[in-house]
């Protein structure tokens, strides 16, 4: 089946079978390999992408269900001129080591902080409880997210 959607601001189309997940479509058909596939059954959070503003598990959504949707992947978060404030905070706080979970962490936190730039540490911990990281022990990730809140508060203020 042919699907048409918007990915990171660009209109794209792909030929997919019904059983193909959105995560596999992004990686194999659209060659956006920033989205990682870990458990393939909705537990690890590595495949998190943003669909119509909501963070979702890319492995639990079929590509055919994304017909007409606006999808943002980790590639779509980056700026022409370099890292976003959230990415910069990850670098500063050593919030990644192997990097496998990082795309899911960034997309999840970007969706959260866009919606809730005042999110408390408790709220951030609750939200990333669905994203597994085996390297960092999570503490640096929380610190990075707390640090990045200021830029989301700023950009909300600018609108």
């Amino acid at each position: 089946m042919k699907i048409e959607l918007e990915v990171n601001g660009a209109a794209v189309s792909a030929e997919v079978t019904p059983r193909m997940t959105l995560a596999d479509c992004l990686r194999h058909e659209l060659h956006l390999t920033g989205t990682h596939v870990g458990c393939e059954h909705g537990v690890c959070g590595a495949c998190t992408v943003i669909v119509n503003g909501d963070a979702v598990r890319g492995c639990l959504m079929l590509a055919v269900q994304a017909q007409g949707a606006k999808v943002t992947t980790v590639e779509g978060l980056s700026l022409e001129e370099g890292l976003t404030p959230l990415q910069q905070a990850f670098k500063h706080h050593h919030a990644l080591q192997c990097g496998f979970c990082t795309p899911g962490m960034l997309t999840t936190l970007h969706a959260l902080l866009t919606d809730e730039p005042e999110a408390s540490e408790e709220r951030i911990r609750d939200v990333i409880s669905g994203n597994i990281c085996r390297c960092t022990g999570y503490v640096p990730i929380i610190e990075a997210a707390m640090d990045a809140r200021a830029s989301y508060q700023q950009s909300r203020g600018d609108k």
């Binding site: 909705g42 909501d54 598990r57 959504m61 055919v64 609750d126």
Partner: protein, 288 residues
């Protein structure tokens, strides 16, 4: 692993969806949010010939609050319930329970109808429906019918739905403002499946005597459970230390859970008593 092969349709009306399910002759399955059904396909616990996606069918995503209670459309997501400020007074037990459903990303796609049809005894919504005497409205090739929650859940991941029936909404009966309630759940990590959970509500007279006790238990049986012996033990009593201890013991003795790698049967039985005691304590101490 990767999903099995299946055909896919996204009809624009319930009639078309039912026709597709009939044509599928038992092999076609409705798809709501897919947050449970996609994993069970990945595990090959289900290999449907066709998925009938309900996402284009209008009118299934409404939350209506009226005299008869709270009617929730089948495609309402957990996120929608948590965002609806009216529920804190209209049916406070519901958002308290839904707060425990899965993780952030899942709550953005998972649906009320999907959870009821999936009938996982470890999930919150089936037990809330059972505890609240909810009625589930469905449509199928033989027309519409309303199924009391007590008649819907027949076994682990099994319901009394026919293969061509689709849940359209669930009605949770009206909730008096003075009603007392508690919800407690224990899991190893917040958002993971419950090792055990308790939903409770009751009404009380001016002197604090309990009536109309409803107690539901999560994850300690093949289906969501009502603890009728504990309900009987609670009715007619006032909430005090002696009542809490006695009712908790009755509840703990009333369930017969299986043990698994996450928790032994004995531990789950003990949890039921502890969680019920905490839930009743919270119910009694909450400022009206």
């Amino acid at each position: 692993m990767k999903l099995p092969h299946f055909d896919y349709q996204a009809p624009a009306s319930l009639d078309e969806a039912v026709a597709l399910l009939v044509a599928g002759d038992g092999g076609a399955r409705p798809l709501a949010g897919g947050q449970s059904f996609v994993p069970i396909m990945a595990f090959r616990l289900a290999e449907p010939s066709m998925l009938v996606d309900l996402r284009k069918i209008p009118g299934l995503d409404q939350i209506e609050i009226g005299d008869e209670g709270v009617r929730i459309g089948a495609m309402v997501r957990w996120r929608d319930l948590l965002d609806d400020a009216r529920l804190a007074s209209a049916l406070p037990l519901l958002p308290a329970a839904i707060d425990h459903v899965a993780h952030y990303q899942i709550r953005n796609r998972g649906t009320v109808g999907g959870s009821l049809a999936h009938a996982d005894p470890a999930a919150e919504m089936p037990t809330i429906a059972l505890t609240c005497d909810a009625v589930i409205d469905v449509i199928g090739s033989k027309g519409k019918r309303s199924i009391p929650a007590a008649d819907l859940f027949t076994g682990p991941l099994m319901t009394s739905l026919d293969s061509d029936e689709i849940i359209t909404s669930v009605l949770l009966p009206a909730w008096p403002a003075s009603r007392r309630w508690g919800f407690q759940e224990f899991s190893r990590r917040r958002g993971d499946f419950a090792l055990a959970g308790i939903a409770v509500f009751y009404d009380e007279d001016a002197s604090g005597v309990v009536a109309n006790a409803h107690i539901g238990a999560i994850s300690v049986g093949d289906t969501p459970l009502r603890l009728s012996k504990a309900e009987a033990a609670l009715n007619g009593r006032k909430i005090d230390e002696a009542t809490l201890a006695e009712v908790a013991a009755v509840a703990s003795g009333e369930v017969d859970p299986n043990g698994d790698i996450h928790a032994s049967a004995r531990y789950r039985k003990a949890l039921v008593g502890t969680l019920l005691s905490r839930a009743l304590s919270a119910a009694a101490n909450r400022k009206a």
